[in-house]
Subunit: 632 residues, 2 copies
Amino acid sequence: MPTITFLPEGLACEVEAGTTVQDAAERCGAVIPFPCACKGACAKCLVRVERGRLDFADNGKLSGDLRRQGFVLACRSSVTEDVDILVPSSVGSEAGQFSDALSRMDVDEALFPQAADIKPLASRDRITVAPAEPLDGLGDYDRLAHALREQIHAMSADLPLDLLRRLPDTLRENGGSVFIWHAEEGGVSRIVDIASEMPGVEYGVAVDIGTTTVAMQLVDMSRAMVVDTVTLYNAQIDKGTDIISRITYAKNHDRIREMRELVLSTVNNGIAELCSRNGGIRADEIRNMTVAGNTTMVHLFMGIRPEYIRLEPYTPAVMKPPLYRACALGVGVNPNALVWIAPNVGSYVGGDITSGILCTDFAKGSEEVCLFIDIGTNGEIVLGNGDFLLGCACSAGPAFEGGGIERGMRASAGAIERVEVDRESGECRCFVIGGGVPEGICGSGLISLMAQLLDAGIIDQRGKLDRSGRYAPVTVVGKTARYIMTPPSEDSVGVYLTEHDIDNFIRAKAAIFSACVTLLKSVDMSFGAIDKFYIAGGFGRYIDIDDAQTLGLLPCLDCGRFLYIGNSSLAGAFMSLVSERHREKVSELANKITYVDLSSEAGYMDEYVAAMFLPHTDMSMFRGKESGVRAC
Amino acid sequence: MPTITFLPEGLACEVEAGTTVQDAAERCGAVIPFPCACKGACAKCLVRVERGRLDFADNGKLSGDLRRQGFVLACRSSVTEDVDILVPSSVGSEAGQFSDALSRMDVDEALFPQAADIKPLASRDRITVAPAEPLDGLGDYDRLAHALREQIHAMSADLPLDLLRRLPDTLRENGGSVFIWHAEEGGVSRIVDIASEMPGVEYGVAVDIGTTTVAMQLVDMSRAMVVDTVTLYNAQIDKGTDIISRITYAKNHDRIREMRELVLSTVNNGIAELCSRNGGIRADEIRNMTVAGNTTMVHLFMGIRPEYIRLEPYTPAVMKPPLYRACALGVGVNPNALVWIAPNVGSYVGGDITSGILCTDFAKGSEEVCLFIDIGTNGEIVLGNGDFLLGCACSAGPAFEGGGIERGMRASAGAIERVEVDRESGECRCFVIGGGVPEGICGSGLISLMAQLLDAGIIDQRGKLDRSGRYAPVTVVGKTARYIMTPPSEDSVGVYLTEHDIDNFIRAKAAIFSACVTLLKSVDMSFGAIDKFYIAGGFGRYIDIDDAQTLGLLPCLDCGRFLYIGNSSLAGAFMSLVSERHREKVSELANKITYVDLSSEAGYMDEYVAAMFLPHTDMSMFRGKESGVRAC
């Protein structure tokens, strides 16, 4: 019998020839997400063959690029010979970093930069500087300025001092023929680098600064291709798990500097890692950098006091950050690189969202109504089409990230990420990230569990557990009932879910759902009007839509209208890195979004209260569910 | 009898009431320069009364400002009571720094900035930034940019990151009313500082970076007044005494960095000294800075390779340096200050000259023909009037600074700076800086000695000493004769002048004189055409014109045509610091100067050889001297 080994954990087992990878994974305890239940539709169950081969029934869902890199869909593959396959790890693996080869394919390719769009902020030109003549009264700098005027129509130049220092030698190395990297800004040519020789591969870095994780892509600029991706925990995480706690922590100059240094260390470690593991790229070969992050993260990255974001009238210091050079910001790329930072729209709708919606049809300006949602501690929502855009944010609390849940944890090794509840006994089977003994439950596990408990009638619409004694896992401790997933042992208190946890979850989902409803009502629309419902964010990827609908987290739309777009903030940062049109598009979209403050919307509290049931007080909104028919 | 005490040395003596300060100084051994031989004409013998009073016959040569500060002319004062007077020390006192209250008065007041001209590069404006409104979609930065556009017509802003960091608090401290320091450059408002409160005194610093000394003035910007002056030795001095040796030393990146750090340390020490001794001024209160220096000094200050200055075709990296911020240059003023550096004209005619000629009638553009000469290791000469300007440089060698002279030294304590030679015996009496035992002879002493030896016939036209035995101080050692000023003792070899020294001196004066002649001939002029002959530089101040004419260093013009303008480079830097018109004027003058390369001028070598006699082979040029009539 052939042996299949799942990397990086090295979980291996012998299976019959012809066994599907899904079955083999289950047998080994390897975790592969199958959101579309192995219909081959979502293309989320990517694995890469490292040794040997799999029998893969290609249905065309996989791009040629990924095929060539050895990726297959696990759900459409079966084992025929000894094979090692790599399962790209989920967000926040033990090591704190993972490769994210998937993120590109989440986005509609039509939205990606086309050849004609490829133009980094600092692009390369070749100019010829006239040789020095005796007593011509011109210094090297004058002759450069003249060449810039004549050859690339730059009326004035912003030449950093270190480049002026290099200019005399550079001009003389190759008879005055020089390559120049520069960005035009308001008639000024802002010069990033000069060189007398044609450089090798040119690099850029796209960065998504999340509250929890920082994801970075190294990009080959000439081919506009992602070379490598790295994700690290944001080192600020010890100072607070959510935005508000970060703002509160950064209350004085020293703390602001500390927070800036923490996020900078994360970004710079990531860049160093990308450089070292791709053949020792030098920092100064990275001449372009884009950053997307929420408003608070952008402020802290720039070292700006974030306090006024949360104080009335909620005014950020900066919406569209000016272009600062890397050396001013302190990032470890070419010190003269001009760092482009995606514009914010308001206190809680930041550059991660404006960057993210580049991955949606908003960027096309089509007539179709779309709703974009980035679910995390904060839920950010954008609604609109080519005619209008509304944006808002709601505080979901940390429940989706395992916070505020007694046995909650982030989606890392040891977390229960999916369960199967037996409707009769109420007992559950847990699927644990990385296999092994469950240590807690993460957001996707919570949704999975809650949906099945509700489905089985073990919890009611108000989120109360069945205390009748019919279900063995339900026990009552003091005044609160709890559902036991794994019993306590000598080493562990076990993993369980309390009614308090359920309340927290309900508040979180109610915040998000009611925000969507309020936004829709503000333009006199209902969910039925939505053609495309985009789910962004690392967490979003792991939400089972069916479960989320069961719980009233997502509306009961046809399954085909939901589109996972993964880390759209990073994808948008990548697109902005390589494409001038996309940078312009982000600004255009940011200007177009009307920021809605939910706390001042009259109906929001009513909607919130109405959503504090499972799935909702207005069951008509979840008719499909009520009837027991699964929409997805 | 009253006691007079000369400070800072503390030399004191009792004198009869009515004794002139000149006599008292001579008795005490205190050195006060009397270039005009106590005619009260040159106003060089300034002293300041620190305690008690002097009987001063004011002849109106002293400005009211200086009078109020307690200055009098020593040559027109006599002692009536106990009195302490401060003698401003000469260039390069022992401590390496001196106060230079004199430099202002050297310049024709009509050339100084008038009230209407006063406009620093970064000038202060008050703007009102609209308060933040809920959901107005504007960050603090946007509202600032809007106010800049509306209120000071700045189409775009260059706001350093640290100011953006301070912006949120600053806007909220005083209801959006802020002071802003900014310079307009090509439509961009380059912001230097923001504050919510009206600041106290505002400061600027004007710097003259000389090859030997760096002179700096702290300026009260609101009153456009010099508060204090400091002069330090350029810390690069150990790496070579002249420009060429500095260029040669700075041959690689490490050496360039080292040279930059050396001059920066000098500048920053000077600024720190100015700040600390004027009531603890903070560096960030200094928001304007101007720098003037020769082309090589400017390159080294900026950290730019100077090598191409001395390699054909002698092209500096930069003629008009762009405006860099203090933090980029590394100078210890407000880090965002834009440092204005006076433009160079060629490899050896630099910003010290373009800045210096602000102190001449060139700045008026009048019809009068002027010649400006800055005598030092390099002699820089500018000739012209409102219609044309020619500039050139010649290498005089270090003789005027005591170099290449066996017992030569710089003009510091212990240097013989003037002599009186008895025409009969040939014996000399030496006047020593700071009194005490002579240790060597400085440039002005050399000129004084040479002129008197020539006058007395102790040296001939070729610079050979009279070996007839008639003059006891002349001895012959080996093949060379020498003139003994102070005989050897147990501790010292004595101070003497050899025929080699005389040759070196003759070469130096010939270089300068022939450069002037060549420049004049290139426009078909002779010395007679010169209406004003400006002598600049710290050394120039101590040249006795009569002696210099005797030796053929200066032409035989009427004494009234010579004008000492002291450290005109520093004075020009000061004027550029406070006045927009003067900054524009410097650029205009720099553009107007045609740089003449003497080495490619056909007649220069002939002129040089012709000037290798004392005073010259063409005695008709020195007819007044020949006849023994003193012109001055």
